[in-house]
Amino acid sequence: MKLRSMQQRHLVNRLVFGLSAVASLLGLSGLIWILTVVIHRGAGAINWSFLVALPTPPGVAGGGLANAIVGTVLMTAVATVLGVLIGVLAGIYLAEFGRANRFGTVVRFCSDILMSAPSIVVGVFVYTVVVLRTGHFSGYAGSIALAIIMLPVVTRTTEEMLKLIPDRLREAALALGAPYWKMTLDVVIRGARTGIMTGVMLAVARVSGETAPLLFTALNSPYWSRSLNEPMGNLTVTIFNYAMSPYVDWQAMAWGGSLLITAGVLLFTVGARLLLGRRKAS
């Protein structure tokens, strides 16, 4: 090793310190910049009619995104029911039965890949499976696409959370004569409830901001949908369409929608973190 003077080494150290501080500052200011822009431009667009009225053609005042808000909430809810039901059961399998066998390994691999797979490909997949078969775009197709994106997230968090439960608790329950399923449901799941809840909230936060999988499954609609079997308005695709349009008032609406979505997503994320933090504290 080459010998360097102390001053030189301290100089290099300070230089790197400065550079990494600048990098952090850049990252942080990026967040603040984006958030202030969204809040500043979005707040101006949100008023009572924004929340309760249907979209209007460009230039007509008094429009809103009520149907899109309801559509996003509805599709996210259906996706959550589907994704959580399948995901928690799959997570139970991975943590309780599939820790070291081949089937478990393959499932784990698939869910890792699906977790980071491009969401737009999921959209194409649901288009070919659901939309082509039924012959029309629908809220159901959108919900299914969101559920597919949610599923691996819920599966893996459930697995991780169940693995945190000490094996001694499992053995204690089995020693008392509980059947395996009762032990899993009454001891393991009960102990991991908060953790699973956190995972579900993070998954909801993630899918409620998704646009790509809805583009050609739920499509979009400027009207109220009578059922999930019709194309369904949703916030993210509406934001996309409005932002790309040349009309200033539509672009303003898009900012309003952005604020709403960002607020919702961050609320869920922060909520999940608080939930997890509370558990750690207790």
Binding site: R9, V12, N13, L19, S20, A21, V22, A23, S24, G27, L28, G30, L31, W33, I34, V37, V38, I86, L89, A90, Y93, F97, V107, F109, C110, I113, L114, S116, A117, P118, S119, I120, V121, G123, V124, F125, T128, V129, L151, P152, T155, R170, P179, Y180, W181, T184, A205, G209, E210, T211, L215, T236, F240, A243, A254, W255, S258, T269, V270, R273
Partner: protein, 359 residues
Amino acid sequence: MDRPFGAPVDETSPAGVLPDSGLVGPNYAETGLPAPEPYVRPPIRPLQRSRAWALRAGRLDPLFRGVTALFAGVLIVLMAGIVLELWRNAQPSIQEFGLGFLVSQAWNPVRQDFGALAPIVGTLVSTAIAMILAVPLSLGIALFLVEMAPPAVRSVLGTAIELLAAIPSIIYGMWGLFVFAPIMADHVQPMLAKYLGFLPLFQGPPMGIGMLTAGIILALMILPFLTSVTRDIFLLVPGMLKESAYGLGSTTWEVTRKIVIPYGRRGLVGALFLGMGRALGETMAVTFVIGNTHRLSGSLFAASNTIASTLANEFTEAAEPLYLSALVELGLILFLITFVVLSLAHLWLGFIARQEGKK
């Protein structure tokens, strides 16, 4: 207690003998402390359920295992389903264009002539720009978080980074289109053209939107993810190792360069691949700002497209079966590219984890 769950009990230990704990209770009379309440055994309630119930309940176990396995299988079915279904629907295009699809620049819905070269190159180039920008930045931030920042700053910055990761990509797209692209057009691109304009990369009209802008937005998008993974890897370095180096008189940077980075190097490689997998398939952040043209250009200022942005823009417009199947084939290509990158990352990380376990 290291016995893994479900593994057979070590039968060589003598049964029924408990090791003497060696603990003797305090003499309460001597210490003057109040003696604890004597233990009173709660009354034993009669079994509320019969033996028969227990036997029947036990018989549900295979069913329980089967049901959970069935739902776990859904993930495999989905994965296989995506590949098969895309492959099947891409058939018209695969048969029409063959392997030439991958190297053709054509994209003409009117003449029904399609090729994937421009979107594939666009996907790779935008990802490359994003990685070049985001990797050093995320290393810097992670370093600052783990080694240098005071604890108060650390928690604030850590939370901020995680919130940044949660913001939906469409918000990045909006911000990129309405706020960042004008800045690029008015200030950044003219400056680049002035000082680096001799390179073909930085020539052409400064429009704001285009490959470079898309790459920068993409970098900003994957930055939080990369940072949090990198931070977790840095945190894994044993304190003892670092303390030893500090004890020998190293500066923080020397500890980082000689201890922390070499220790976490292999994990970092896996993390980079994961981040790359994300960047490759990112749709909305790119679609807003890339300009969406099917034309290869030597300049980073030019409008371009990626596979994801082509799908987002054209899928609902594709009326002809061949057009649609060409788009599906693009989706298949994107899935296969990310599949390769992500599986390499996961196999590599799994390999490292097993090696660590052996040590």
